[in-house]
């Protein structure tokens, strides 16, 4: 699984985690970077139960950008006597404002892959067409892997034992005929 044929399909950084997602021939690997250690989770294509695609805003990013914007505006206001400094702060405020508004408008595309035992999520803030292509690709790979697995299992597993059918019971009329006549 962990071999040279890994293809990086996405990464995501937030305050708490840094994640890199790779696609391999057998599934999807999520590398979570935890200080100097990489913790790897895998979702195999032949284990996939559900793949979802949705958009979300990510409120923490927007809130952070709003705080930064407010902070830079305040700094620009405080340092308004020094024009170069104030304009630098104003430019930074504009930048963070643009980033926040862009996030609100574009949202983040999230692909979530649910397996039998694990799940993986891939987030794309800007590459929308690429995200859609990856979603279709993962679905196609999962379908193909499960088809292959079903064929393998069909060839490996012995056929179910044939249960011999029991002889049919006689019809109810015959039963009454076979019964002794009631005593009179």
């Amino acid at each position: 699984m962990t071999d040279a044929k890994r293809r990086r399909i996405g990464s995501w950084n937030d305050v708490a985690t840094r994640q890199v997602v790779y696609e391999t021939d057998l599934g999807v690997e999520v590398d979570e970077l935890d200080h100097f250690e990489i913790i790897r989770r895998r979702v195999f294509f032949d284990d996939v139960l559900l793949v979802t695609y949705h958009k979300e805003v990510g409120p923490s990013f927007v809130v952070m950008m709003a705080i930064f914007t407010a902070g830079f505006i305040a700094l620009a206001f405080v340092s308004r006597e020094l024009v170069p400094l104030a304009s630098s702060f104003a430019a930074l405020a504009a930048l963070t404002l643009i980033l926040g508004v862009a996030r609100l408008m574009m949202k983040v595309d999230v692909i979530t892959i649910f397996g039998r035992r694990s799940k993986a999520a891939i987030r794309y803030a800007y590459r929308k067409a690429f995200a859609r292509r990856i979603f279709e690709n993962i679905c196609a790979n999962a379908a193909a892997a499960q088809q292959r697995r079903a064929e393998e299992l069909a060839s490996i597993e012995p056929p179910a034992p044939v249960v011999e059918e029991e002889p049919p019971l006689p019809p109810p009329d015959d039963v009454t005929a076979a019964a002794p006549p009631p005593e009179q």
Binding site: V20, F36, E37, I39, R40, T52, H54, F114, A121
Partner: protein, 199 residues
Amino acid sequence: MARPRSAYAGPACPHCRHVLASDALQDGDIRCPACLTEFEARVFHPPQRSARVLQLAQSGPEGATSCANHPRNAAVASCERCGLLICSLCQLDVESGKYCPSCFERLAQEGALATAKNRFRDYGSLAMVWSIVGLLFSFLFLGIPLGIVSIYYAIRALRSRQNRSSLIVVAAGIFIALVDIGLGGTILFSMLNVARHFP
């Protein structure tokens, strides 16, 4: 240290993590009953292997040996590590070997099975960090030893396949480490020169 994770409970809403019932899953757009978020879904039905275990009673009187863990089941293999006779329920095929569950668990814990390994040292980041520390403290003659250390980590990162993605980080680490060594050597050389001229 890794954050504690809640136990995985199967397919759920990707937004609020509300567990979805299997009959609620369908291809197309789904609305989560808990948070009302709409998402596109593709449902799969992975094939499951139906375990047909050979019972001791079915296998015939000659040559039938029972599994060490399941006395009613016939053994079909022996563990390659401990030699325990195992039935098809216990048999774990890993990396072209057959292992019993306890040996598999132990080998996985020891990191002997590459496919079962899920924790790796990030040598690329280590190389980068140590090279920067060496640069910051090069005036204390730490540039040379820390540069050497970071080059060692960079080589480890290049050798380990799982770190291929951080090639830029590794290259930057090597570059800064070489700067460390150069700077440290220059400082050391100039100090020695000064010491030679002023005994």
